[in-house]
Symmetry: C2
Subunit: 538 residues, 2 copies
């Protein structure tokens, strides 16, 4: 068989050949921007010429600080297409982290959305490797800025030649993209995605029982393009000519509802906070979601109550998936098997609430402290470990963390899970969030999801409090729905849990707060909760 490399250019070239008439749309600064794949391809060619003109060399890191947009999509293909490395910067990071990441990756160029300029201006004197700043907006004008040298994206593209021959003989093991983990402790760790990994991951996403993207779909990635490749959607959708809808800068739930309705989105992807926000809008205003066939949920688990609300009130299934920055990211996706159609609705929910089965191409195990497989009984907890062709084998220039997390050839996820006899993974907790009470493990996530099913509760996070006798005991931090803010009591929560959880799992303490702090990617920030509510803990 031919030694033909697996690269992102293979994806790009197929889209150009077959899907020239298909649409890509983006909520831009002045309304909706629309073009087709033919015009997209031409602009990717222009962008490749622009990059060459800026003097980037193969292997150079070229960064983006941008929302989900058609311009970001162009960068997704042009940068790896010429042999450089697309480095997506998380716009929600603290200044110090952004500085660390840009310097650690030694980015040579940064493409930045106009409204995010202040983020870079604030740190410009501390990012020494960056030689060029390119501002993305819907005009050719350059706004007043302290960055230098600075260019307009649209102006550069306008002046560049419209032809570029993307090589199909790039080394499949060469870097195509990179992304840093949003660690809540320690420095962010860099993950480098090879061309091979992105090719294979995209192919797996296209398979019918995973995301199953088709030319007939219309996808809208709500998950940011700076977060683990927007779960691969931009690559995957382009391969099969799927209409792509980008929500642009600062989309709120109302904007997202409007886009789903107007653009007839069939498939979207995001974190639970997004789906909760959209549900709240839908409870007040009517939108037509009849085009949608599924909303993929990742990042954190969607509570059962949310899943049921989407089935019953919205008519669109929430589909659980699991992955992480280190895994490109898709690892598992949860669909019921055909014979489960005969099961009761509650039994089916018990499957759908899990994170699902492993994608074709990967290998997973669930192991105890001694590295032995735990029984596949859906009860025994263990750490999820993964290996496969789109799983990180190391962190970028970080031998210590690489040894710690992937030293034995498996990625150790720090996620505590169960696996059942059907092969479905259920995330119980992060290793560090697990509550270790008298030798038993209590899943903070289980407790949270159960509390969030309470009709007076909007959100809930559970953290460990130190305990003299039991070592650790659970404490629940609960955000009541606005209308119950003054009436909800600790007993309401405890009483609600009594017939749902074993007695020793019930929280020792329930506090009511206004908001659960979130990380830059929308996950509960338990580190901050611990700092705030548990003296001496971090």
């Amino acid at each position: 068989m031919m030694n033909y490399p697996l690269t992102t250019n293979s994806i790009l070239k197929r889209a150009k050949m077959l899907y020239g008439k298909k649409e890509i749309v983006c909520r831009d600064y002045n309304g909706m921007f629309r073009y087709n794949y033919a015009r997209f391809y031409e602009r990717v060619c222009r962008l490749a010429n622009v990059l060459k003109g800026l003097g980037v060399q193969p292997g150079d890191r070229v960064a983006t600080l941008a929302w989900n947009s058609h311009r970001h999509l162009e960068l997704y293909f042009a940068i790896p297409g010429i042999g450089c490395v697309l480095h997506t910067l998380n716009l929600r990071l603290f200044q110090e982290q952004l500085i660390y990441i840009i310097n650690h990756a030694e980015d040579s160029v940064i493409f930045v959305d106009q409204d995010l300029l202040p983020l870079l201006e604030a740190i410009k004197d501390k990012i020494k490797t960056v030689r060029h700043f390119v501002i993305m907006s819907d005009t050719k004008e350059i706004p007043g800025t302290s960055l230098s040298p600075v260019y307009s994206y649209e102006d550069l593209l306008d002046k560049a030649p419209s032809q570029y021959e993307f090589p199909t003989d790039l080394d499949e093991w060469s870097a195509a993209a990179m992304c840093y983990t949003t660690a809540t402790t320690g420095d962010p760790k860099g993950v480098v995605y090879t061309h091979r990994a992105i090719f294979l991951h995209s192919m797996a996403c296209l398979t019918a029982d995973m995301m199953g993207l088709s030319e007939r779909d219309t996808v809208m990635p709500i998950v940011p393009m700076f977060h683990a490749n927007a779960w691969g959607m931009p690559f995957t959708a382009t391969w099969t000519g799927t209409k792509q809808v980008f929500p642009g800068a600062r989309p709120d739930p109302m904007v997202l509802c409007q886009l789903i309705q107007d653009e007839k989105v069939t498939l979207s992807a995001g974190v639970p906070t997004i789906w909760m926000g959209i549900l709240q809008v839908l409870e007040k205003q009517k939108f037509d979601f009849s085009s949608a066939r599924g909303f993929i949920n990742g990042g954190s688990a969607a509570p059962l109550a949310l899943m049921k609300a989407y089935d019953e009130k919205v008519g669109v299934p929430i589909i659980h998936a699991y992955g992480m920055t280190e895994t490109t990211p898709l690892v598992t996706l949860s669909r019921t098997k055909s014979y489960m159609d005969d099961w009761s609705l509650e039994q089916q929910y018990a499957v759908r609430i899990k994170q699902g089965v492993v994608a074709p191409g990967l290998e997973i195990r669930v192991v105890n402290d001694r590295g032995e497989d735990v029984p596949a009984d859906g009860k025994t907890m263990g750490e999820l470990i993964i290996r496969g062709p789109w799983i990180a084998g190391e962190y970028y220039k970080n031998p210590e963390k690489s040894k710690e997390c992937m030293g034995d050839g498996w990625l150790h996820t720090n996620d505590i899970v169960t696996i059942d006899e059907e092969g479905y993974i259920y995330i119980c907790d992060r290793t560090k969030d697990l509550i270790k009470s008298g030798g038993e493990w209590i899943s903070s996530v289980d407790l949270e999801n159960t509390i969030m099913a309470h009709p007076m509760v909007a959100e809930a996070a559970v953290i460990a409090m130190p305990h003299e006798k039991w070592d650790e005991r659970p404490m629940a931090c609960v955000v009541p729905k606005p209308e119950y803010k003054d009436s909800i009591k600790e007993e309401d929560i405890i009483d609600f849990l009594r017939d749902k959880m074993t007695k020793w799992m019930l929280p020792d303490k329930v506090i009511f707060i206004d908001e659960i702090p979130k990380t830059s990617v929308g996950k509960f920030n338990k580190k901050e909760l611990r700092q705030k509510y548990i003296p001496g803990k971090a």
Copy 2:
């Protein structure tokens, strides 16, 4: 990213982990055999131990001479799984070809279906490398045979240990399987499939817009498992836990209809002859095909009339696909794009009758005699050339043919095609079957398909007759439907063609024959037609 090899063991291990309860069924010598993937996996383990016991070494070729069956499926995984090479022998070959192939591949063991024993007995003295013969039947008894040494498959499995640890660190570039082309001229040429190629090809087949196999499907490969991996279906279906139905020995159209109905087949694959045979059965007897969502057609083009008959009378779409032994085999598959839903039915048929668009992962071009791309106008003919990770880069131990067909890094298919602006390929002819008339090319396939739309015609093949002035002119060999055998006339055909083809394309001669000779894989054997009806031609 991890250096994790792409192997068939990745497929096998996922099936074992997730789909133990799913069913695999086979029409066996005594009725239907049924088991599940858990039991299948156990038998594959036993088979691996059997192979080790027979002394095969990594890289050894282990051959099968067998129908589509669950035992054949076990061999599909056990042989590559231990690092050997699955060599599927075409049971329809002539003795001399079978001898050549077995000797050229230097097969060490042959697994043979009991009813095919005579084929091997007849050549046993001429196949010197074969050290063991294993007879497959549903008993442990060994029938009287002149082969030696000879074993019973079921007996060997019964005695073997049920545990085997399939390595996941095989070299992805190592050979997993091989198959010889059924060339009508010259010696058969061997194609070696690497683990990597089978992995990637299977992944591509799983994508929603190609075969889109799902756990929810039930597949029945009618295309033989000795012919280009049964178009990849056994590997593909196993990966996603699809119920598999194997038709066993010598299935006739009536048997196939019964299986589709009884086992609720959703997807099947075969050559036009199969679909014609099934249609003839359905015209006489009622079967319930409501489970079926598509029948994939390859090998040769399905005539438009056949495709329409399936839509109108059977309610199951015929889906065109294209590939060859050298391409693992899927290259293109034909589905209409979403915006074509607005086109007229005839326009949609004009798309569906084409062989389709290139699979994700491959690159195709259509080139003229000078190697230049022809315009994508759906009219200009050129040769289809292909490259990609599951395309043969050489023939096995055949440097001369390798240089001729893949010397420039592209596989030259010898297929004359057009490509339209939507990227759909249409096979006009084999290079050698094309009729070159006065500097113009006439597609024999086009003529055949048009003639086959005539209500009095069952089948038609068109060949070139030598012509003094025009070099070559078309001659049609027509098989009338039985009821028109005595009444059909040459003018019926020519008159029918007049408003459908350009005048100079009409055949100079029409002859009526009882049957069109077929090759071992069911294609029209035009070499034989030429030998029979055109003096001095071959």
